[in-house]
């Protein structure tokens, strides 16, 4: 039978068929799925009575690499290589920009990730959303190397366990190049000084930038700013915008910009002067602004229903040992929670450096205004976006 269709007819029929299939698929998805039975896991004590979705672990035929969503300063190539050779566990690292970025990604892919890094008060948000599971922190042998306080942060302690394996902490400081930034600043105001147009680098973290703006403008509760406080914070960001050279994804990009002197100012964790110097850059200094700042206590969260869930424990055991943590400190400069690593650093003759970056004063971490989600994230994102996205 000889038939011919014009391109228009061909596309029309194709679209019609696919639309029909799409509607059928939607109808199928809307109707309740029959229970398969047998494959479900027992509910955890916490999830049994909560509204959090129950996620079943996806058994993998052959275990693949652990999928780790984290920041650039939470892992090292040597560490990953050594873990692979000692345990056979390969790790596939994807870097995340921001806590909200990590939260959204995990919310979309669930068990396709196995471990996700998160900051302080963001971690309970993951838990409340049913995305991560609590672990028994004392079941990790390597946890005995931690400062004892790191095993009992109240905001990570739940009845069914601990929400994250503690990694590091730091207040957010302002790093500056004293060759160009004079006199030495002590306030957030330096970032909006018109003298430094196009000379500031910050991480592209909308919520955190709103928190900084809240601190800089004297908001009472930076996580729950009133409309007036939000407007003041937005105004501060508007003044900041001309000074921003670029918004980067990872803090090592801030270090690179300070090292090349294309930027003179940047927000950073503890340790930035050494990192910039190590990157071949000039002498820089850093300070905690007089108005205050925010800080983070971060850790690795075990994803609920991760495809390689059963190997996460072994990965943390092997990758969070004092040797690797000490090396991570030398590479990234901010204090970590592994106390044994501090002893190693002292033995290596790095006590001055470790003490300078508060490694020996972990109790200071709990005095910081910790990073966390806002009560009105939507308004925060919109305010930020109206400044930097327009």
């Amino acid at each position: 039978m000889a038939e011919s269709y014009s391109r228009r007819e061909f596309l029309k029929i194709g679209a019609g068929l696919s639309f029909g299939a799409f509607l059928a698929a939607c109808a199928g998805a809307a109707s309740p799925a029959p229970s398969t039975g047998g494959a479900s896991t027992a509910p955890s004590p916490s999830s049994a009575g909560s509204a959090a979705p129950s996620i079943k672990p996806v058994p993998s035929a052959s275990p693949g690499p652990i999928n780790f969503l984290t920041w650039s300063d939470h892992w090292g190539k040597d560490e990953i290589k050594a873990v692979k050779s000692s345990t056979g566990i390969a790790v596939n690292v994807t870097e995340l920009a921001d806590n909200i970025d990590g939260f959204n990604k995990l919310n979309q892919v669930h068990g396709q990730l196995d471990v996700v890094s998160g900051d302080a008060l963001w971690v309970p948000k993951y838990y409340d959303a049913g995305l991560i599971e609590a672990v028994d922190i004392n079941s990790f042998k390597v946890a005995s190397e931690l400062y004892s306080m790191a095993r009992s942060f109240p905001f990570w302690t739940k009845s069914d366990g601990y929400l994250a394996y503690p990694w590091g902490w730091s207040p957010i400081q302002i790093a500056f190049n004293p060759k160009f930034v004079t006199p030495a600043p002590d306030s957030w105001a330096v970032l909006i000084d018109p003298k430094y147009k196009g000379k500031v680098v910050m991480e592209r973290q909308p919520t955190d930038m709103m928190l900084f703006a809240g601190v800089a403008t004297g908001a009472k509760d930076i996580y729950n700013m009133t409309d007036t406080e939000l407007a003041a914070a937005k105004d501060w960001l508007t003044k900041l915008k001309p000074n921003i050279l670029k918004l980067v994804k990872q803090n090592n990009e801030t270090i690179a910009s300070l090292a090349s002197e294309e930027a003179w100012l940047g927000t950073q964790n503890l340790g930035s002067p050494d990192r910039v110097k190590k990157a071949g850059g000039p002498e820089i200094q850093a300070f905690v602004p007089k108005e205050g700042t925010t800080g983070f206590i971060d850790g690795e969260m075990t994803v609920k229903g991760g495809q390689n869930h059963d190997r996460v424990h072994a990965y943390i055991e092997a990758g969070a040992t004092a040797e690797f943590v000490a090396q991570n400190f030398l590479d990234n400069g901010r204090p970590l929670w592994n106390e044994k690593a501090y002893t190693l650093l002292v033995n290596m003759g790095k006590k001055d450096q470790a003490d300078r970056y508060l490694y020996n004063q972990p109790d200071l971490a709990l005095k910081m205004q910790l990073k966390g989600p806002s009560g009105n994230t939507d308004a925060y994102i919109k305010a930020w976006q109206e400044v930097f996205g327009a």
Partner: protein, 305 residues
Amino acid sequence: MTSTVPAATEVADTLPPAEPGLSPRRLWPFVPAAIVLGALFLAPLSIAVAASLWRTSPSLQLIPDWTLDNFRYLLGQAGYIALFGKTLLMAVVVTAAGITVAFPFAYFLVRYVSRRWQRIVLLAVVVPFWTSYLVRVYAWQAILGSQGLLNGLLKELGLISQPVDVFLYNDVGVFIVLLYVYFPFAALTLYSSLERFDFTQLTAAQDLGARPDQALRRVLLPQIRPGLITACIFVFIPILGEYLTPDLVGGTKGILIGSDIISFYLGGSFPLMAATALLVAVVVLALLIVFRRYLQVEDLVAGGR
């Protein structure tokens, strides 16, 4: 004399009767197209449309309440409208510059360069595609930066005494890199159009009294118009959704509307992300309809009915 050729009506009588409508048997050939259209176009578009009409809670939970608030919000903010306008302008300028550079390049190549050398030059145009887009854009950071190759060259030539930072982290940087990225699309499209052109027509036109520019305008350009329009489409439309180049070389000053789409995504505002993306899609659709008036695609490509 009786004709041996059967009449058209007789031929029609011998054919099997036409099947009314489309029977399932006749739908099978369309299944691959349906899968492709459904999976890669219709489903994502439907999700985007639905999400654009939903809202988020203060804590960014997606709430499926049907509302036009996202569009109202976007269209009510002067900043977003201005950014949209700037994106359109950037696309127009890069397209114009791309065609302006690519046309003489392709013309010279087709008319004055031997076939062997044409292949080598075209290969040189295509070679950058063998490396990742990201790597190419990062390379431009090294070229345009204050410590970069371009500043070094200008310094060597004595044109500047201090490095200047006008090439990177602004609209200039975005323009330069977009021009570089999309030049091959314009050049290759125009090359294939010009290659089929009979250049003796230009000589004939001039023999008949036309000036060279008249011959070009009235003989050459009308004949390569489909190629020109296709080149415009290939350059203009992708720029409307560009995100990486503005992100990497534009800084905070060089953002385009694509940057907002990704920012809304990273911020978890999926409805606003979807609404922004749909506004871009509507503009693209409108432009394609306009382009279509000047380009009979079916005649060119499909030989359709």
